[in-house]
Symmetry: C2
Subunit: 196 residues, 2 copies
DNA sequence: CGGATCGTTGATCAACTTCAACGGTCGTGG
DNA sequence: CCACGACCGTTGAAGTTGATCAACGATCCG
């Protein structure tokens, strides 16, 4: 129940809900526990639902032809995660989503979402706003990726997600900023050397 | 008027509108002509509106510390373009948006949009859907950027935007796929050599 | 305790950039 | 209508950034 209130609070940052609406919303979600290294979505499946993380942490990533993983997003508590391409086009997911820590999440299927939006139309607004935010974040990242070098990307990451740095294995961060774990190690060594 | 119907048609792909609603929508927009090389938005300003392109083509791009441009998006007719980070957070734009061809666009300010959404709430749904699509496209691009080499990115671009290739100067495409114009030239030469 | 996974370091390698030079085309002013 | 400059695409040589491969010590967890 404390977890559910995280979802409600998150929505109420953007609009207010009466008790009835809150109950209707929670009805649309199901709870799922995902252990570290277990999958929420595998590439090739069609993604049917979006996840709202209550605690723990998930990540989404693509695997290239040579088998290397590339992290697209981390989702600690309070974040949403899904394969948007798969869910809106109904195509095979290109992303894998798994748990980096033992995770508890609320799941919302597209069907449930449709029903929910019909009964509580003002939620359209909420989902519009988080989509816009997500799009803005994604744009920011894309610009970062092409316009600054790896060291700066690492520093930017430290800046933007101070909480995640201590929590995540370094190789996960390397995969996110788009370098090999070896090279991130060298970046950190270089930064330490320059700090003296 | 033929231009306006492009907007209406674009919305009606996702929901249906009666004549009254159509008129109310068009009321919220203003028309603007932007000549080739003129700016719709300059980095540093706060972005106040989104543009829907009727004809011509605009692009958004960031400029890095060394003065190099990095194209984020092209917007030919039927596409929306804005600096989402600036518009939703009210912060200084990091993007420039200018016209690559003489362009006619419909502009919608955030204030007008708010008013419009109040009177025609079902448009929340439309804006949610296009945000989701935009986010999906952005994710796709991000994965592409980090998981395949420049030659493949070029081929993917040709695939996805066959219409734009003939229309755009090569250096604009180079900037989009994230390489120097010189290197794109070499990629094309290599592809021609292998085709024989 | 033992195996697996992690982070580190160094040597070599590949992808892409930088810089410089050249020919072609386009648009503009005379 | 021509001439000029600006911008574009191309090519080649040399330079950087980050990847790859291999080896090693540390830590974590079963």
């Amino acid at each position: 129940m404390s977890g559910h209130s995280l979802l409600i609070a998150s929505i109420e940052k953007h609009l207010s809900l009466n008790t009835q609406e809150q109950h209707r919303i929670l009805l649309a979600f199901t709870t799922q526990y995902i252990k570290k290294k277990e999958f929420f979505l595998r590439a090739g499946e069609v993604c049917k639902q979006v996840a709202f993380v209550l605690n723990g942490c998930m990540r989404s990533y693509a695997v290239d032809e040579q088998g290397f993983e590339h992290n697209l997003q981390f989702a600690p508590e309070g974040w949403w995660i899904t394969d948007m391409n798969s869910i809106i086009h109904g195509t095979a997911a290109r992303l894998n989503i798994d748990a980096i820590e033992d995770t508890q999440a609320l799941l919302l299927s597209r069907d449930q979402q449709e029903g929910l939006l019909k009964e509580v139309p003002k939620l359209e607004r909420f989902f519009r706003i988080i989509s816009e935010k997500s799009m803005a974040g994604s744009h920011k990242r894309l610009i970062d990726q092409v316009s600054v070098n790896a060291q700066t990307r690492y520093l930017n990451f430290c800046d933007q997600y101070p909480g995640l740095i201590q929590r995540l294995p370094q190789k996960q961060i390397a995969s996110y900023i788009g370098v090999t774990p070896e090279f991130l190690s060298k970046i950190k060594a270089e930064l330490l050397r320059r700090k003296d």
